[in-house]
Symmetry: C2
Subunit: 147 residues, 2 copies
């Protein structure tokens, strides 16, 4: 009994009284294909190449919808801008972002997660979500950057 992202999305829409349109489907599938760093503009450019009538507004609207539903999340870039990544069948993770080649490396560390909960508890703070991004240079770019 496999539940594909598409099916999950469809069920979500149905439950909310919303409709499954071809635009929503193609944006979802774009996100599933592209591992990460999909920006609204890139999604728009790539998809409107096939389907010339797709509008920028729909990309934004669908991204919000998916974000509200918890199917996609934001990822920060070093310059302060951001992109999106889907969260289907992917455990929570944080990011190391290369300031040179823009590559994104995912990491998880259970100890850090545990410490965050502990710190929150100390302050009687109720954590809902977090972002944790390490900016720096990946292995390759570190080598190149050596003076």
């Amino acid at each position: 009994m496999k539940t594909s992202p598409q099916k999950v999305f469809q069920q979500y829409l149905e439950a909310q009284g919303l409709k499954l349109t071809k635009q929503r489907t193609s944006i979802l599938e774009y996100l599933l294909r592209a591992q990460n760093h999909s920006t609204p503009e890139r999604i728009y450019r790539d998809l409107s190449a096939q389907d010339a009538t797709l509008g920028r507004a729909t990309v934004f609207r669908t991204l919000h919808l998916l974000e509200r539903a918890g199917f996609v999340g934001k990822i920060l870039f070093a310059d302060g801008s951001h992109g999106y990544e889907h969260k289907f069948a992917r455990p929570h993770h944080d990011h190391m972002v290369c300031v040179d080649c823009k590559q994104v490396i995912e990491f998880t560390n259970p100890t850090i997660e545990k410490l965050q909960d502990q710190i929150s508890r100390e302050f009687q703070f109720t954590p809902l979500w977090h972002t944790h991004e390490i900016f720096g240079r990946c292995r390759k770019c570190s080598q190149k950057a050596v003076v």
Copy 2:
């Protein structure tokens, strides 16, 4: 031999062949006064109340200058916007941001810092800086939010 932020700033400017203007001084002093969550717009509004000729562009230009120099840093808000905080005589810290009252609680955890370095090393990633923000509800807002 005390070195005030003002003096440090002045020396930095001098070293770069830049000038110390009254606008730059007043923006720096604003940031020193306001603990945190200063947004460009708020800085502009508050300061231009006294000095009606101050321009928005100068606020942005000065903020960039201070950021490049490492005297101020960005702080993310829950809605994706951001503000600035000065970094004079304040050790590195991360943030817990209340999604309701917007309050920012600072925290530091040496173990987390150490783990970050360790993870970076594993990937042969050279960390330059990081952001780590926990979003949730502060003690007071957690209580209010109980259904």
